[in-house]
């Protein structure tokens, strides 16, 4: 993520400092992040929420059938890892570290990995 443009130094209290820092963070994110990376971030957020919901359901209500929980939760984790890796490869800010791999190649890798992951997930879901 890109660093915030300006840092507030005039805040009188720590809460207002945190609030303004967050505001800066959001502002900076809105302005400096490319649209495609925002799509990736939205996808990641959805996956995190889905994974947390499944974990809470498992912990509070039932873990039976456990294989279904493992499949569902594993699908969230696996998809998150693949997507995060994909994000690192296509984000202009970190792009310089992946000069060997073109963005198209990175997308193809991501799709292949995800399809294999979903194949395993549905096999294990029961």
């Amino acid at each position: 993520m890109a660093p915030p443009k300006k840092v507030s130094t005039t805040a009188s209290s720590s809460t207002s400092a945190i609030t303004s820092a967050l505001q800066d963070l959001v502002q900076s994110y809105k302005e400096n992040t490319p649209k495609r990376v925002k799509i990736i971030d939205a996808f990641l957020l959805f996956i995190v929420l889905s994974g947390v919901a499944q974990f809470v359901y498992c912990a509070l209500i039932t873990n039976y059938p456990f294989n279904a929980f493992l499949a569902g939760f594993g699908s969230s984790i696996g998809q998150f890892v693949l997507t995060a890796a994909f994000r690192a490869q296509v984000n202009p800010a970190t792009r310089s570290q992946f000069t060997i791999i073109s963005p198209e190649r990175a997308f193809a890798d991501f799709c292949f990995g995800s399809i294999v992951l979903h194949f395993f997930v549905y096999n294990f879901l029961g």
Binding site: K35, R36, I39, I40, F43, F46, I47, S50, G51, A53, Q54, Y57, I61, T62, Y64, P65, A68, F69, A71, G72, F73, S75, S76, Q79, T83, F107, C111, S114, H118, V121, Y122, L125, G126
Partner: protein, 445 residues
């Protein structure tokens, strides 16, 4: 008219006589081995009683070699009565080893009734009795009891009331005249108590009856063969094969002379015949006819079950009815148990009588453990034939496609996986479209 009347008479006679023809569940041939000294006519009422119940009696002296108890290792007789208490030696086919061999045969056991005399059980008989867990007091020490004696002058002739039992069903009530020896039973679980000595009785030389008591009193009661735990009549049942043996401490129990005392009838004959009925496998004889097992939802048996299957096990037991000579289904066993065993019993449950006569049923859930299991019924009760049945089945785990599917509790997980996939597809579409937009932007720039 005449032949018809005769045939009617014949039928009527058959009907009258039939109930008295009891058959043993194993066979009718009886070999009676006697001492040379004994007079067979002294026991005629006992023989007549046996004959009236359909037994074929064959008599033989211990000095004779024929007829042999077995030919080519096949028993020639179903039952033996060894009425030879004082014989010093026995022929080869009646040696203790041969008798034990005959009794413990698994397919065709020979039942043996041992009758002892007050005076001296011979050495071979003493040794043989020890094999059964029965030991005798020193020679020439009959049972003495002044409280149940017929007369104070003759304290070795006792009037006893044997307890009523299922196993001696033919004997209903009454006193028997007992003149003989007592014995000590070991804790062998195969022994069946039929008659115990009176609590006030003891074994001693009848000429010096007080000496034994005085000697024992001097040594603190030690060495006196006394009390109610001493046995007079003891049965023994072989676990495998079901052969039965009976040890009776009184020869006179069977004698005609003991059927009445001072003109008053005793129950000796009825009791002797009841003892013979148990020994010759007429009473308390059970067998397993059929064993069934199946899943609760199916009607055919399976060779293998799945873990957590609901299984029904059924077993059919018959009891021999000596009055008709037939096997009758019986539901009178209340304490039969079924074990579902792989090395250890994983399940042990009661086999309850089912609605149909003779069937016992147990329903249980197979354990959550796969392997080779056995249905085991092992019912051993004193005096009854031991019932044993073992059926081997396998218990297998779920196959890959046998697990339950689409469980309502798993819908959040299904939704999680499905939504991740859908979101992935949506993301790919957006990504590709977004790429187009950027390309367009670049082109327009």
């Amino acid at each position: 008219m005449q032949p018809r009347l005769l045939s009617w008479l014949g039928i009527a006679l058959t009907l009258l006589v039939a109930p008295a023809w009891a058959k043993s569940s194993t066979g009718d041939k009886v070999l009676i081995v006697t001492d040379a000294k004994l007079e067979m006519s002294d026991y005629s009422q006992f023989w007549d009683g046996l004959r009236s119940r359909g037994y074929e009696l064959t008599f033989r002296k211990t000095s004779e070699d024929e007829p042999a108890t077995s030919a080519f290792d096949v028993p020639s007789f179903s039952h033996i009565i060894l009425l030879a208490p004082s014989a010093k030696t026995y022929p080869q086919d009646l040696s203790p080893q041969s008798l034990v061999h005959l009794l413990s045969d698994r397919t065709q056991p020979t039942n043996i009734l041992f009758v002892l005399q007050p005076s001296t059980p011979s050495v071979p008989l003493r040794d043989l009795a020890r094999e059964f867990g029965i030991s005798f007091p020193p020679p020439a020490t009959p049972l003495i009891d002044y409280f149940s004696a017929v007369s104070p002058a003759n304290a070795t002739s006792l009037l006893l009331s044997p307890p009523l039992s299922q196993h001696t069903a033919g004997f209903e009530s009454g006193k028997i005249l007992y003149h003989g020896i007592s014995h000590l039973r070991s804790s062998n679980p195969l022994l069946v108590n039929f008659l115990n000595a009176p609590p006030t009785s003891y074994a001693a030389d009848p000429l010096e009856p007080a000496d034994a008591v005085v000697e024992a009193a001097a040594s603190g009661g030690e060495g006196l063969w006394a009390g109610g735990r001493m046995g007079l009549v003891t049965g023994f049942e072989v676990l495998l094969g079901g052969g039965r043996a009976m040890w009776v401490g009184s020869l006179d129990l069977f004698a005609d002379a003991a059927t009445s005392i001072d003109g008053e009838a005793t129950a000796n004959n009825a009791y002797a015949l009841a003892l013979a009925a148990w020994t010759f496998q007429e009473t308390s004889v059970l067998r397993i006819d059929a064993v069934e097992h199946r899943r609760i939802s199916e009607s055919a048996p399976r060779e293998q079950y799945r873990i957590k299957d609901e299984i029904i096990y059924r077993i059919h037991v018959s009891k021999f009815d000596p009055t008709t000579g037939e096997w009758v289904p019986t539901s009178e066993i209340e304490d039969m148990q079924l074990e579902f065993t792989m090395l250890d019993p994983h399940i042990r449950t009661a086999l309850k009588p089912a609605s149909e006569e003779g069937w016992y049923e147990a329903q249980f859930m197979a354990p959550d453990r796969h392997g080779v299991f056995k249905f085991i019924v092992d019912w051993r009760r004193k005096g009854y034939t031991a019932l044993h049945s073992s059926t081997t089945v396998s218990v297998v785990p779920f196959r890959h496609n046998e697990y339950p599917r689409f469980l309502s509790s798993a819908w959040p997980y299904y939704l999680g996986a499905l939504s991740t996939s859908a979101a992935f597809v949506l993301f790919c579409a957006l990504w590709l479209l977004g790429g187009d937009e950027e390309a367009k932007k670049k082109k327009t720039q």
